[in-house]
Amino acid sequence: MSTDGTTDARAGGDPLIEFRHVTRRFSSGRGSAVTAVDDVSFTVDKGEVYGVIGFSGAGKSTLIRLINGLERPTSGIITVLGHEVSGLSESKLRHVRSRIGMVFQQFNLFQSRNVAGNVAYPLRVAGWGKADRERRVHELLEFVGLADKAKAFPEQLSGGQKQRVGIARALAVKPDVLLADESTSALDPSTTGEVLRLLRRANEELGITIVAITHEMEVIRSIADRVAVMDKGKIIEEGRVYDIFSNPRDDGEVTFVGSALKDRPTPEDIGRIRQHTTGRLVTVSLKDSSAVGSVLGRAAEHGVAFEIVHGGMNTTKNASFGLLTLALEGEHHAVQRFVETMKAATPVQEVRDGEEVPR
């Protein structure tokens, strides 16, 4: 299946999900059309967490609904779990859907059923017997930590609890894929962490492949292995989360990564820093592999004194990186030699008064 060479090399088998030149256009009367998804191609491999990030209106919701056939493509081919879902009828799709769980931004719990009833619903759809259903519901509620809420109704739960019920329901029939549609966007920061940890456990302990769409960088950073940045219906950047965070490239994405990374001083920060130092200001990249610390340790040997005036670290699922802003004081040539030494170890950028630090 991976004949066009776009498949990520680290996965052994066929991709679980494959989009080939998929477009979804909505006609909105009076002849005008909106292209929600525009010639998108990507693959998701078994066992990975694939994040899609973008501003609202970027087409993420449509994209994720194309995977389980809630939306149909205008053109292009979508293969999920070996089935070409773009060509299946609504009734044939049901079989594929039963292997894909979905979690929603607004939880979408059945108000007419209690927690246990909500979790049992997909099991009923899949034709499980009563005893099996009860055992599985109990198991799932244990997994999400809500065993004591089985008889509660949705309106009696907090947002985080509702989403945990949503996750238990999505995991009920042991799906191969979990689709997370802005699963934490309606939650406050502390419950967001709770739900993200749960998604991560579903991925790590149950081996479920997850596709998560979000506008929150936090979500991508804490659970995704790979990320696609979506803007105006197109995927404008795709790669491993660490790479895309530490080396942002394209315009649409800079604003996104920038919104999440508070690691470089703003012009206002620089103005404030200038009140305390006259030294040369530089930013130094920190990565797991760079040995910035040992270079800084030898500053005195160069006759240079340094002060850390700004900095920020960011952590992804499996790596961290950041940026330090230093004020260097000393004889002009000594400072220059010291900067050259640092440049040998890690990228260094000049900080100019009143200007943004470029990425």
């Binding site: 389980n68 809630l70 609504e90 009734s91 799709l93 049901r94 079989h95 594929v96 859907r97 039963s98 894909i100 979905m102 929603f104 607004q106 979408n108 719990l109 059945f110 108000q111 007419s112 059923r113 619903y121 997909p122 009923r124 759809v125 899949a126 109704f153 309106e155 329901r169 029939v173 689709l179």
Partner: protein
């Protein structure tokens, strides 16, 4: 006033009122037992066949919508008269309580259709999407998601319809039917005995209050608030 009722010939009016009440209940129960199903089906059709609905189908939607809009606004007294040929061909007679029940079924079915539709559109489309995402069939979604999710409001809607049907049944006298309406007009109004009319009024009021209380209790239980 009280004397008036004290002097009322209860041996005559008591059984008469009781019979009239029985006939009203009979007409409403029979008509509702039929129209509830027709109305529910039509309402579900309106809701599911609309654009973006589960069974989106423009021709079906527009046909049902047109039928509902055509029949529902006809004043009931005119509908009874207008339906005469249909009533006679279906039941062999155009008069009596059965003829009234027939007209009530027509009027209330289309009324219920609209009320069902109005209650169903308030369902969060997200829960239907969730059920679709789980692989539930459309039939299953209708019976296990759409109807249960709207059950509370539907109870209130049906209570409203039953009360409207008591109103309809009061016109039965027009085609020789009985019931409280006929009792009030024939025994009270036409014999210049307003206190007899008020007996019928009181019976209707008690009936409506009881129904509304029952409806509210049931809806409250289903909605858990």
């Amino acid at each position: 006033m009280i004397d008036t009722y004290r002097n009322l010939d209860w041996d005559y009016y008591g059984p008469e009122l009781f019979d009239a009440l029985g006939e009203t209940i009979q007409m409403v129960v029979f008509a509702f037992a039929i129209s509830a199903w027709i109305g529910l089906t039509l309402g579900l059709l309106l809701y599911t066949t609309r654009a973006g609905g589960l069974l989106a189908n423009a021709p079906v939607f527009w046909t049902v919508n047109f039928l509902v809009n055509t029949i529902r606004p006809i004043p009931f007294i005119i509908l009874i008269a207008a339906l005469q040929p249909v009533t006679i061909s279906m039941l062999g007679t155009g008069i009596g309580n059965t003829a009234v029940i027939h007209a009530m079924v027509w009027a209330s079915s289309f009324g219920i259709a609209r009320i069902v539709e109005q209650n169903l559109v308030t369902i969060d489309p997200g829960v239907i999407e969730a059920a679709r995402a789980m692989g539930a069939s459309r039939t299953r979604i209708i019976f296990t998601v759409i109807l249960p999710e709207a059950f509370g409001p539907l109870i209130l809607g049906f209570t409203f319809v039953i009360i409207a049907m008591i109103d309809m049944s009061a016109l039965a006298g027009i085609v020789g039917g009985g019931g409280l309406g006929n009792f009030a007009i024939v025994e009270g109004y036409q014999r210049f005995r307003p206190e007899v009319t008020w007996l019928a009024v009181a019976a209707v009021i008690v009936m409506v209050h009881l129904l509304q209380i029952l409806g509210n209790l049931a809806a409250r239980k289903v909605l858990r608030r």
